[in-house]
Symmetry: C2
Subunit: 917 residues, 2 copies
């Protein structure tokens, strides 16, 4: 018996029997096909149809684009089943069956695959159908759609040619919209289309409905390997060997008069997550009219008044589907002569904001567990709540250009680019922030949309291509700004009198749909969203990895704590040195001619540093605070060498032009000062400062400096402790590469700590530890843990040295090329390179804990807020990740995901154990 | 029964029974004591005596400087044994026994420990001894020596005070030398000495011989912890817990008239290794007179004429000792009234030249095996043969200052420093080459001698302190330049009319003993020493590690091959780019405005590179040649940024002073050129070039460049192959950190290689591989070995990144401080840091060979010529080390040592296996 390639929608049990779990059924039938079958099973009204499996597609492609044995035969069998169910027959002019042919891969890839409607029409059938329906306009509109879609998708005729015919017809008929065109117009258009097909391909349009079906099926199969689909899969990380299924569905028509309609709707609001149907529909139209955004749609709520009973039925179905799928649904529907049909359902795409609210609500509704809610919200989605938003005051004063649909939240500011290529080029090559502006977007535009900061279209609705893609990729977008007149030839757009040229700045508000002129300032919003707080609190219940924050100032520390930080993993003391009133003292210290001068300057810094630390301890009452001693090379506190050389050269040139002695005296004083600095900078200059005199090396060369810092830390800690604040200072020594460095510094510094506590007559608990940011430190972590009481991975530096890549140079240089060419899979400065840097970290943790089993180990590099890295740190068994305050909520969620993944893996292992037991 | 602390010289069997092997006997009795006992056993005439063990010393020191139970009692018992043997009695005025008390640790530490002679003398005994010998002058001379040594060593009276008394006495007696002083003079001196002791210490000189003995024993014990001894042990790497033994020996006197003498001699020439007694002696003197270098000694050959029978006896004993110890001996002897006594023997210190010849000769004489000979010559000693020597032509024209004894070979050029502190300060802090000049040297001077490039003294002989230390540490030295008048107050030295001030340059020839004025040029000698060639050929027989060389030019390659290199491990192609006629083309390539210009310049370089490679292949016929593709960042080929900024500024200033238009035009053209370069340099500048766009990264960004190099390599290889030369090119890609980099480059380059071979119609064997010089490469060596056919550890870069230390900056900066303070045990750029960098190498080798078991792995960093590193590479199982041609012989020997050490360890393991079986 031949393999079963084709499944009727009511054969879902057979598919399950063959494939196994539902995931495999989805892989076999594609997401759309599986759902149509599933809907059929639970009694949702779905037009009869069948699915040609993804296996058939793969077999077809593997066989060099020829049908494997049985596929076509089974398709014909299934067709005759549908004919029985509907009582209609394909190609039977008396009672013709029309079908659609749609692709449907395992993962939803909107607009990427090709669809053909109205298969079964030809001149003869059209005549019969007119006889049957009495609606010639409908029939010829349907017929021309078949020829148009078949022509462009299957036969490769450029779609613009067809559109031009329609536009010309509109002009001739002197009407503005397609709906005003008459039956004769469409008949003429259809005729013209068929001529175009013949001219372009050299062959007639296939009149045989079975040829149409076969060719359409093949077109879907082939489109799997089309460039657009391929690029999309690459961008979205979908495997290329999945294949697509083909769904053949009985046509139902939303364009059969005013008791017919078609639309798409989400079971909840896809932007906000509110519990309400959200979507658009058109009376007397076919589905593609809605998605393409060509006609202005009506909101789904209008259906309530227009067809109240149908609205109620649709609402019930939506609830039933939500309950069945335990998720928000994105549904396509058609009403044919007052009968509701569901054509598709799938988990709806939504904004981060909606994702969070829906997850929280569904827990309350008993649909999903807390863990499921946590799992559904991706850590990156929390980023939305930290997205830039337009500054409120600036927006008041800004010039409003127009308002459109707020389809993807967040603010975007950038220069206008009128096509995808320009947008991509400006963004990637010139590093400009770009807003991509189009009348409407198409799959071809995705590369530009991905590169843009924001998207603006003059047409389309909430479910238009532009809206879907923008939401999926988290790009702020405003669509359907109908006042906007975009002229792609002159490269400008106008709203009334206002002309905006390509390259001009505009600002979008994806939350309100407003578009402003110019470059508005933005801010990061507060994130006290109650749904988010719920999800995060559930995340905290499951995660085992602590989340700390990197903060240099008390205000940052406070915010970090509000965001849930459980400690400070990195206080960079040198940031304090750069403050206006301090820098001159720091420079005096560096330029000191002798140790007396140097110590005098250091003394001056002591009370300032002490003040800094007091503020931090107060903000972090009862939580650990890791303070890193001075790290950067000293020349960073002095003017740049090149600048000084240039200034001196300029001063000398200028000297030639002075006339009075006092001018010359003044210049000379300047020259002397600059010269002095130049000498200082010269003596400190290094060929490779990143590998130079910094970190612990500084502390060893100028122990007075780090001793002052430790004194300031402990004086501050003692003062706070006396006030009743619980302090946990941890002193972190940076850039250790050899345990002896740590011994020398730590001994000297711990003596200071003890001295201060004795002076103050109070004992506080503290730790001394080190950054692990040099490969050698990780390699000899067993020796280092003998001295250090804690480790903190400084993954920025560790990545630089492990890769031998200077971040500053490379991220503006060859690293860009490496990432573009895929030589490196990820930017190692954003996501930990597990194979290399990660191996060192693993070694560092293991060796360190061999020596000191209770060793506290964390990470404080910028990677600490990257979800993939958080997952890795969880697997390594770190105690905490530390990241910027704004990344703390993201890390909390990422840590929960990591813990849940662990739990799931353990469960799988348990199962396996049981199975083999 | 109390522990046995004291061993008579004839109790060597007991010592062996207690301690075990001879090594342990030496640890127990010290080197000197063990040898005295051993000599006693084999019948060499040694005065009766005994040794207080090192265990007694350690117990004494541990007990807070008090005698442990039994020590003193056993000393008294041993003393009475000696009294029986000699028939004399300590303190018996009628027939007094006199003894010496000398230190003797396990390892010879010449001059570091303290010696006291003539113990047993007091006023009464002196009178009795005069009666017995009838020689009052001898007795009082001996007596004053006891008081002087005891006073300075045990009681801490400054020795200068005693010397001043003698000088005054000489003046009063109006004589020039001590030997002209009379019995009365010495009696008076003795009296005065005793007064000085009383004045200085507040106590009388101890008249009781037993008190003398006890206090002397304690003084030796205590001297183990003296600063001089401590510093010496630190410098020589000797453990501090060994302790010293005390040897009490019956006094024999070389100063009992003209039938008495004393001297020291080596059984072979310590400078050249020639087979002849070499040493000095003095008639009618005590041993210290010889060593101190105060009196001008006679060469040992004179003894042949003076006392022919005794010379013969001494020669026989020397041969017997050599045969017994299978090594050249350094002996102290005394002739008392025509009777020869050996007071000490030990393995003689010798120059590298002598070491090599003696090892080779002793194999011929059947005394030692070839392996033993190889083991005896330290790899560092081969360095002597590569030591700088004075340029022959320059020396002919140079001004000869004086000639002294050539006690330690090699040339030294530097500024004169008249004391150890100055020498050390100038050398360490100011980095100056220093020649330390002293009338004679003392143990206090060692730190200055270690810091100096050369040593020059006006007094002393071949076995003087200066000569011994210089030879031990391989420092060129000339001693005993009696014409030299050194004035430590005016800080100058004069020879006749010539005045040389402190800080002036002089040049020494340690081979000839000549001293020249000024800074003479030096050269490295040819090393075709026949003894060395023998030893090296034996080394080659045992070693398993290959030795290759780093060479960039055919001339270097030829030399490397002569020195025994078995391949070229590193040809740095970019060195060729710096040649005068090429640099402008390279700069044109870098500054090219477009790819046409760039490729045109690259085309120009092709024939030049091809020529380079042909020369190398010819020189290395039949041996592998690893050619590294371009490595350094491109800005290295352009003028320095700072220089350009400065030049431009200068040009602009100068512009103000021009008058004619043509001057201004000329300046403008200059400015334009410089400005052009400045822009180029600016676009290439990097914050950390060491971690920047270099190595494989360059090849990926400008593939035309590396493709040209590969084309040149293969065109050259094909040409040579057609001439009948066997070529083994290996193309090495530098700075790989990710396997993908290697894939991209290697694929592109191997295509070029194949293309060339096809063009040339000839196939040659070749390899493509990579440097492992980035931690990530070592960590992912399994992945990299999937592509690379060979690895070569670039340990310079690997050390930089593993430690996070920029070599250029650190070796002039904090690394100096780290080494001075012992924070790092070795300079990691000289000797591989086994714990850190070594761990990565180990990982790299293991992972690489997991993927590719036959992976060829070597090292081409500068460490490749460092013996410790060679040993490590042997243990890692590398195929070869590659080093500079001049280090090749050193590495050959080091590799042999590593193999022998392995063999020995395996033998030990085998023994253990047998023992436990």
């Amino acid at each position: 018996m031949a393999k079963k390639w084709v499944y009727l929608f009511n054969e879902v049990e057979q598919a399950e029997a063959y494939a196994g779990d539902w995931e495999s059924v989805r892989a076999l039938l594609g997401g759309k096909g599986a759902n149509l079958a599933d809907m059929t099973r639970i009694g949702v009204p779905v037009p009869p149809g069948f699915t040609v499996s993804t296996e058939a597609c793969n077999a077809y492609l593997a066989a060099g684009e020829t049908f494997p044995e049985g596929v076509w035969e089974q398709e014909l069998e299934a067709l005759s089943s549908i004919e029985q169910m509907t009582g209609k027959k394909l190609g039977d002019a008396g009672n013709p069956l029309l079908v659609s042919c749609r692709s449907g891969a395992k993962f939803s890839m909107p607009g990427m695959m090709d669809t053909i409607l109205n298969i079964g029409l030809n001149d003869e059938v059209a005549k019969g159908l007119i006889k049957q329906t009495g609606d010639a306009r409908f029939v010829y509109d349907s017929y021309r759609r078949l020829v148009q879609m078949f022509g462009s998708v299957v036969l490769g005729v450029p779609d613009e040619v067809f559109e031009a015919v329609i536009t010309a017809r509109r002009k001739r008929a002197n009407v503005n919209s397609d709906s005003e065109l008459s039956a004769e117009d469409w008949q003429g258009v259809t005729q013209k289309f068929k001529e175009l097909v013949r001219t372009y391909t050299g062959n007639d349009f296939p009149e045989d409905p079975f040829d149409q079906l076969k060719l359409a099926t093949e077109a879907v199969f082939k489109s799997w390997n089309g460039k657009r689909a391929f690029d999309y899969r690459n961008a979205a990380g979908i495997r290329h060997d999945l294949g697509t299924a083909v769904n053949i569905v009985t046509m139902v028509f939303g364009n059969m008069g005013d008791d017919s309609a078609t639309g798409v709707a989400m079971s909840r609001n896809a932007s906000t997550g509110e519990i309400e149907l959200e979507g658009d529909f058109l009376i007397n139209a076919q589905g593609e009219d809605v998605v393409a955004g060509i006609r202005q749609t009506e909101p789904i709520s209008h259906l309530k008044t227009t067809m109240p009973e149908l609205y109620k039925e649709f609402e019930d179905i939506a609830k039933r589907l939500e309950k069945h799928y335990r998720n928000m649904q994105d549904m396509e529907f058609t009403i044919e002569h007052g009968k509701l049909w569901l054509l598709q359902t799938r988990d709806g795409k939504r904004t981060a904001q909606a994702e969070v609210r829906i997850a929280a609500d569904m827990v309350e509704e008993g649909l999903i567990s807390k863990e499921e809610a946590v799992k559904r919200v991706q850590p990156e989605q929390v980023d939305f709540f930290l997205h830039p938003q337009l500054d409120a005051r600036a927006r008041k004063e800004a010039q409003l250009v127009a308002t459109g649909l707020n389809v993807s939240p967040g603010a975007a500011v950038g220069v206008v680019a009128f096509d995808a290529d320009t947008a991509e080029r400006w963004a990637k090559e010139e590093g400009r922030a770009v807003i991509m502006v189009r009348p409407e977007t198409k799959p071809d535009d995705v590369h530009g949309m991905l590169a843009a900061k924001g998207i603006l279209t003059s047409r389309g609705g909430r479910t238009s291509h532009a809206a879907l893609v923008a939401r999926q990729f988290g790009t702020p977008a405003v669509v359907g700004v109908s006042e906007l007149d975009i002229d792609l030839d002159t490269r400008e757009m106008t709203v009334g009198e206002l002309v905006i040229k390509e390259g001009d700045y505009i600002s979008l508000d994806g939350n309100t749909g407003e578009v402003f002129l110019g470059k508005l300032p933005t801010f990061i919003p507060d994130m006290n969203n109650p749904y988010l707080l719920k999800v995060l609190s559930w995340a905290d219940e499951v995660r085992t990895l602590d989340v700390w924050a990197n903060a240099d100032y008390p205000s940052d520390a406070k915010r970090a704590r509000e965001y849930g930080a459980q400690g400070l993993g990195l206080v960079r003391t040198e940031h304090m040195f750069f403050e206006t009133e301090r820098l001159p003292i720091v420079q005096r210290m560096i330029m000191a001619k002798n140790s007396t001068e140097r110590n005098e300057a250091i003394e001056h810094l002591l009370p300032m540093q002490r003040g800094d630390f007091e503020g931090l301890f107060r903000a972090m009452d009862n939580l650990p605070v890791i303070i890193r001693l001075i790290d950067p090379p000293l020349h960073e506190f002095l003017p740049a060498y090149e600048e000084l050389v240039q200034d001196l050269a300029d001063l000398k040139v200028r000297l030639q032009h002075y006339h009075t002695m006092s001018e010359i005296d003044g210049a000379l004083a300047d020259i002397r000062t600059k010269q002095h600095y130049l000498e200082g900078v010269e003596s400190l200059r290094e060929a490779n400062p990143m590998l130079g005199t910094r970190g612990v090396r500084l502390g060893i060369l100028i122990p007075e400096l780090t001793k002052m810092q430790v004194r300031a830390i402990f004086e501050a800690a003692c003062t706070c402790a006396k006030e009743g604040i619980t302090v946990h200072p941890e002193v972190m020594i940076p850039l250790t590469s050899h345990v002896n460095e740590l011994k020398v510094q730590q001994n000297a510094l711990e003596a200071v700590a003890k001295e201060v506590m004795e002076e103050q007559g109070i004992t506080i608990s503290y730790k001394f530890g080190t950054m692990i940011e040099i490969p050698r430190a990780a390699l000899t972590a067993d020796e280092i843990a003998d001295v250090a009481q804690f480790f903190s991975f400084g993954t920025n530096d560790l990545t630089q040295t492990t890769f031998g890549i200077s971040r500053d140079d490379a991220e503006a240089g060859f690293l860009v090329e490496y990432l573009n060419r895929g030589i490196l899979p990820d930017n190692p400065f954003a996501t930990i390179d597990e194979n290399g840097v990660g191996k060192l970290m693993d070694l560092g943790v293991k060796l360190g804990r061999e020596t000191r089993p209770d060793l506290e180990v964390g990470i404080c590099g910028e990677h600490g807020g990257d979800p993939k890295t958080v997952d890795f740190c969880h697997r390594l068994g770190l105690n905490y990740v530390s990241c910027s305050p704004f990344r703390v909520p993201i890390a909390r969620l990422a840590a929960a995901h990591a813990a849940l993944r662990d739990k799931q893996n353990n469960a799988v292992e348990d199962k396996e154990v049981i199975a083999t037991a």
